[in-house]
């Protein structure tokens, strides 16, 4: 009797602790949202909702603020980074799981995971001191000479190649998110039942056919999950981008323009924001990012659920 009582107490306290831990997550999210709304109230009141979202003005001296330039910068860097990162990461995962000889699998896998462990400030410093000069001296002039001569694409490569721009920031972002996508894709590829793969090989399929027709369809969901994770990281990444994006509050038309993302603006301007409306506008920006990330992740989650249902049928 005594032992079972003790067991009950232990059980109960264990479930209580887990419940408190989980509920506190919801509490923290709601709390953050509430603080963001409360602190941005003066800015919401002054600039409104739609006007703030479509205004490109960001002038701390005249105390006029709008989020459009920051939102567009966030979208452009994130989209471009995903464009660079996703194919590379899937390629890496295919190499590690299907192509690489056994003695290479370990080292490459560990190298990818180490890439994920590097703090973002180090990527930022590396970007500023090493990547930016390489971009401005070699890669960007080369792109201008080649892609920049094409009729429509030409617009995207206008301007002086300074190395402090959307392109450099996106390359750094891509390097940062590759490990996430790659390691999740690798894990999902590994989940493909060996029997199915072996059957395909037995039927005479080539390595490429196995990857294309067996592994990729089988692990779609996992790969998609990895991309969503990287999207979240790319949206929120701050320090690495802050060093190479220039924090220019204008909507960029070229990949070689300096721009600003929401997080970069927050990191750059929060400490010295001296007027109340300035600070409040920064909180408002944070609120916009909060909602944006929420929507992006919600859409991704919905798609995952849908795909799962379709898949299980």
């Amino acid at each position: 009797m005594a032992t079972s009582n003790k067991k009950n107490v232990l059980d109960l306290s264990f479930s209580l602790i887990t419940a408190v831990a989980s509920l506190s997550i919801i509490f923290i999210i709601v709390g953050i949202f509430w603080i963001l709304v409360r602190e941005s109230a003066p800015a919401i009141h002054k600039f409104g909702f739609i006007d703030f979202l479509i205004s490109t003005e960001w002038n701390p001296v005249k105390e006029l603020f709008g989020a459009a330039a920051n939102i567009s910068g966030t979208f452009m860097t994130t989209a471009l980074a995903l464009l660079f990162a996703v194919p590379t990461a899937i390629g890496i995962a295919i190499f590690v799981t299907e192509v690489a000889p056994n003695f290479l699998k370990g080292p490459v896998g560990i190298a990818i995971e180490l890439l994920a462990a590097i703090p973002s400030i180090i990527y930022g410093m590396w970007g500023l001191f090493t990547l930016a000069p390489i971009m401005s001296r070699h890669i960007e002039p080369f792109l201008q000479k080649t892609l920049g001569k094409l009729p429509v694409l030409e617009v995207l490569f206008r301007g002086t190649p300074l190395g402090i721009d959307i392109l450099t920031a996106s390359v750094i972002l891509a390097i940062m998110i590759i490990p996430f996508t790659a390691s999740i894709a690798r894990d999902s590829f590994n989940l493909t039942p060996a029997v199915v793969k072996e059957s395909a090989y037995a039927l005479g399929a080539t390595q490429w056919e196995v990857v294309k027709n067996i592994v990729l369809p089988y692990s779609k969901l996992g790969v998609f999950g990895g991309i969503v994770l990287s999207l979240g990281r790319a949206l929120g990444e701050t320090m690495a981008v802050a060093f190479v994006l220039g924090n220019n509050h204008k909507i960029a038309t070229s990949f070689l323009d300096a721009a600003a993302t929401i997080t970069v603006t927050l990191a750059n301007e929060f400490t010295e924001a001296d007027s109340d409306i300035y600070l409040s506008s920064l909180y408002y920006l944070a609120l916009v990012l909060f909602v944006m990330s929420f929507i992006a992740l919600a859409i991704a989650k919905l798609m995952l659920i849908r795909a799962e249902r379709k898949y299980s049928r």
Partner: protein
């Protein structure tokens, strides 16, 4: 269980120990620019008196907010607050150390101290109106220099900073067009150029990009041996940035205790004065007598004993005359 209890007890005791110690700690928060010199002073001060300084360099905006909310013993701001604002929040203000801003260039063939610029040229370069180095205006001041026909790359700070506040105040003071179009502040809407994060960001862009110009803190230019320019000051004389020219600016600057020392040191009238400088300020809460006493004791000690340490770190210590004015101000407000 016993282990856990012992652990909890240990943690409790260590917090207790901290609270006992806290009596001898001075808490400050604010500007990042003077943080190294405050820390160096605090280290020496701790050896002499046993009082510890806990200074959090969270930025001027944060410093002002923390002292307004009375969560620290003193706040620090790179920009002075106007007397009306001080009165509203019941604050006192005095300068602690001087910082200067210098222009650095990367033009092939131009060495440190070779290029001369006047305020109008600086303003027009930053407005994007003077676009090339061989512009007639720059040439007329530098007849002997061989200036290239290349475009000028203008570099400014991308983050909010006291350095930008000093520099844009300088431009606003000398150039009506700048005042009207851009204005002054810790961050402004720049009409031209690219932004670098921090002094290191600006310095790095200027080093990397040929034909560029940027503004950085004096210490940064000196430590990195960058090609600084000469500037024409308010007296019409071209001067080089040096301890002497900053001290001259500080000595001729009209710091007025009646205005709580509200002053930007830009365009000081002295013949040897460097035209772009500013003091960094300490903010005190009028109602917190005890912590004011602690803070003022520290700065009084630092003014008397910290000049060499400040110079070692390439900060400009306050001139004696200004120190005396500050001591009078403290006494007038019932401290010291």
């Amino acid at each position: 269980m016993k282990k856990a209890a012992a652990l909890v007890l240990a943690v409790l005791m260590s917090t207790l120990a901290v609270t006992v110690h806290a009596e001898e700690t001075l808490n400050g928060a604010g500007a990042t620019f003077p943080a190294p010199v405050y820390s160096a002073w605090a280290y020496e001060y701790n050896k002499v008196t046993g009082t510890k300084l806990n200074y959090q360099s969270i930025g001027s905006g944060g410093g002002i907010r923390q002292i307004t909310e009375r969560t620290v013993d003193f706040g620090a701001s790179d920009a002075p607050l106007a007397s009306e604002k001080l009165a509203k929040d019941n604050l006192l203000q005095f300068p602690a150390v001087i910082g200067g801003v210098v222009l650095v260039v990367n033009v092939p063939g131009i060495k440190a101290g070779e290029l001369k610029l006047d305020s109008d040229a600086v303003c027009k370069i930053y407005l994007g109106e003077i676009k090339t180095w061989n512009d007639a205006k720059i040439k007329s001041m530098n007849p002997k220099a061989s200036l290239p026909a290349s475009d000028i790359t203008v570099v400014h700070r991308s983050d909010g900073s006291g350095t930008t506040a000093i520099f844009t105040d300088y431009l606003s003071g000398i150039c009506p067009a700048w005042k009207e179009k851009v204005g002054s502040g810790t961050a402004v809407s720049w009409p031209a150029g690219i932004g670098g994060k921090g002094n290191e960001g600006v310095a790095n862009y200027v080093k990397q990009q040929s034909n560029s110009i940027g503004y950085v803190e004096f210490a940064y230019a000196k430590q990195n041996n960058m090609a600084y320019t000469l500037l024409k000051n308010a007296a019409g004389i071209f001067v080089a940035p040096s301890f002497a020219s900053f001290e001259d600016a500080a000595a001729t600057g009209d710091f007025d205790p009646k205005k709580d020392f509200y002053l930007w040191l830009n365009n000081a009238k002295g013949k040897k004065s460097w035209p772009i400088a500013g003091a960094t300020f300490i903010l005190l809460a009028k109602d917190k007598k005890d912590s004011n006493m602690k803070t003022v004791k520290f700065y009084d000690w630092a003014f008397k004993n910290g000049a060499n340490k400040a110079k070692e770190l390439i900060y400009v210590p306050l001139p004696k005359s200004l120190q005396d004015k500050i001591r009078t101000y403290w006494k007038a407000n019932g401290i010291l």
